[in-house]
């Protein structure tokens, strides 16, 4: 059901771990839905993301999207990192099964949450960044067709 890229990132996730005294940390998702992502960012004085780590409790897609998201933001400056959408993550993974699209949204949201934390800690404002919802699934509709 998963592409080779997804399987690769699931089996060999990039940037797993923690960063002590991180510039920003974001945790999104909830255990009820079975996925929680935490992103650690190490951002230098030029607003470049020097390092990024993640921890994820969740399905294969959750792990793979976290891993891919960290790869995509690493080395980027904060503004460019903001441009990385769930679509970009999905594309980089050669797609996700429809029931797993929410994982990529979660990854996007986790990055944003970590950036928000960084912005708050440093009293700066990042263009286009909104306060993360506490629960990524909030407001999402059940897409399943019901017969």
């Amino acid at each position: 059901m998963y592409t080779e890229k997804v399987m690769d990132h699931f089996q060999h996730p990039r940037n797993v771990g923690e960063i002590e005294d991180a510039s920003g940390v974001g945790t999104v998702g909830n255990a009820k839905c079975g996925d929680i992502m935490r992103i650690y960012l190490d951002i230098d004085e030029n607003q470049i993301i020097r390092d990024v780590k993640f921890k994820t409790f969740g399905c294969g897609a959750a792990v793979a999207t976290s891993s891919m998201a960290t790869e995509l933001v690493k080395g980027k400056n904060v503004q460019d990192a903001m441009q990385i959408t769930n679509k970009a993550v999905m594309e980089a993974l050669d797609g996700l099964p429809p029931v797993k699209v929410h994982c990529s949204l979660l990854a996007e949201e986790a990055i944003h949450a970590a950036l928000w934390d960084y912005a708050e800690k440093n009293g700066i404002k990042i263009e286009g960044l909104e306060k993360p919802k506490s629960d990524i699934h909030e407001g999402e509709e059940d897409e399943a067709e019901e017969y």
């Binding site: 079975g34 935490r38 921890k55 409790f57 399905c59 792990v63 099964p97």
Partner: protein
């Protein structure tokens, strides 16, 4: 993939080669329609009757009380919908449990939309129905009690005989979904006052796409599939002769091996449970330790999510499931695990391993060794585990 350790026999089983062998002539040689007049085809009618008798014998029923269907889901739908219709003048209340298979639960939801009322009984923390709750739930307009014989996820075996007695005393029809129990534990429809019983071929090393509904003589139930006069006019459609022959053969096999096979399975099951409990921390056995299907092992591993676990196991050649096979792809954790009181995140971290007739101790040793590493690995990337450890260190 070279190595394959199949521990998902509750999802489906390998069709036994003897079963396939028995089916083969009915595809290309004795392919006649059993309803036809000429001898070549009419002989298949007797063949079917013989299978009915084999199956009836296995549950203490008469052959003509066995009605072939396309599987467990159809049997469940038939039992519930057609009883509901046949009894609607008596009442519109049905009692079932919170841990039934979706074939029962979704059918009940459907009936609710059609004006029926359904009581979903709670179960205890081991997944066993509470008899006093059942008694309390009975009303004058209760027309049917449907309780599964044994649960597909956590293997808990229900007090079917007691439930049957209660139903019988109150003159209420009693249906049991025995899809998982049939050929795993001995069943006697008379001793248990069972009026209807569902079973499915592919759960017992028989073919997919065939099952049956036992209907006690005298039970008034409507047809579910209308049309030709097959199955004593109760279920239309040209008989799936090879499937029926395969099912008969599978039942014959399973009944004759029942004691020995399940004895061995029970031993292996308990060995697996013991090793996991001893060697993997923060785990919990789900389901009743004693009243449990011989082949069912179900654990929750804290801080770990089930699908990841499954994929990691798959990469080691191990086939298992997390909750029911049918619910994968869904976001909700298993309704059964929630019903026994597990918090959501623990329910998400469940692993079901169901042994089969071919499972060996060596297989299970390999499984435990693999599982240990995988759980450790996944916990290493789990934010929940991180939080837990940090809390402990404080």
């Amino acid at each position: 993939m070279d190595k394959l350790i199949y521990l998902d026999n509750a999802a489906t089983t390998r069709t036994a080669p003897e079963v396939v062998e028995a089916m083969l002539p009915y595809f290309t040689e004795n392919y006649g329609n059993p309803s036809s007049v000429y001898g070549f085809a009419a002989a298949n009618k007797d063949v079917i009757t013989r299978q009915r008798e084999i199956i009836g014998d296995a549950i203490g029923a008469k052959g003509n009380e066995i009605y072939f269907t396309a599987g467990g889901s159809e049997s469940d739908n038939w039992a519930l919908k057609a009883t509901a219709e046949a009894c609607e003048s008596k009442g519109k209340h049905i009692i079932t449990t919170k841990i039934e298979h979706h074939a029962i639960l979704h059918t009940c939801e459907y009936l609710e939309k059609r004006g029926y009322e359904v009581t979903y009984l709670d179960v205890d923390e081991n997944g066993i129905v509470k008899l006093d709750e059942l008694k309390k739930a009975i009303r004058p307009d209760t027309i049917l009690i449907s309780v599964m014989y044994a649960n597909n996820e956590i293997g808990s075996i229900q007090p079917i005989r007691e439930i049957g007695e209660i139903a019988h005393e109150h003159g209420i029809l009693f249906h049991t979904d025995a899809v998982q129990a049939f050929c795993q534990i001995p069943i006697d429809v008379n001793a248990c006052h069972i009026d209807m019983l569902s079973a499915s071929g592919h759960k017992l090393n028989g073919p997919k796409g065939i099952g049956f509904l036992y209907i006690r003589t005298g039970v008034k139930i409507r047809s579910f599939v209308h049309g030709g006069a097959q199955e004593r006019k109760r279920r239309a459609g040209t008989e799936n002769v090879p499937g029926i022959v395969g099912l008969g053969k599978a039942v014959e096999r399973a009944v004759s091996s029942l004691e020995e096979r399940t004895g061995k399975e029970r031993e292996l099951r308990d060995y697996l449970i013991r090793r996991i409990e001893n060697e993997i921390p923060y785990c919990r056995l789900n389901g009743d330790r004693e009243k449990r299907l011989p082949n069912n092992v179900n654990f929750s591993f804290q801080f770990v999510e089930g699908e990841s676990l499954l994929i990691m196991l798959d990469m080691k050649g191990i086939c298992a499931s997390s909750g029911s096979a049918c619910t994968s792809g869904s976001l909700d954790p298993s309704h059964v695990l929630l019903a026994i009181g597990l918090p959501h995140e623990i329910a998400h971290g469940s692993l079901r391993m169901t042994l089969g007739e071919e499972t060996t101790k060596e297989d299970l040793d390999y499984v435990v060794d693999s599982l240990k590493g995988i759980v450790e690995n996944l916990r290493g990337m789990s934010p929940l585990y991180e939080d837990f450890i940090k809390k402990q260190n404080n």
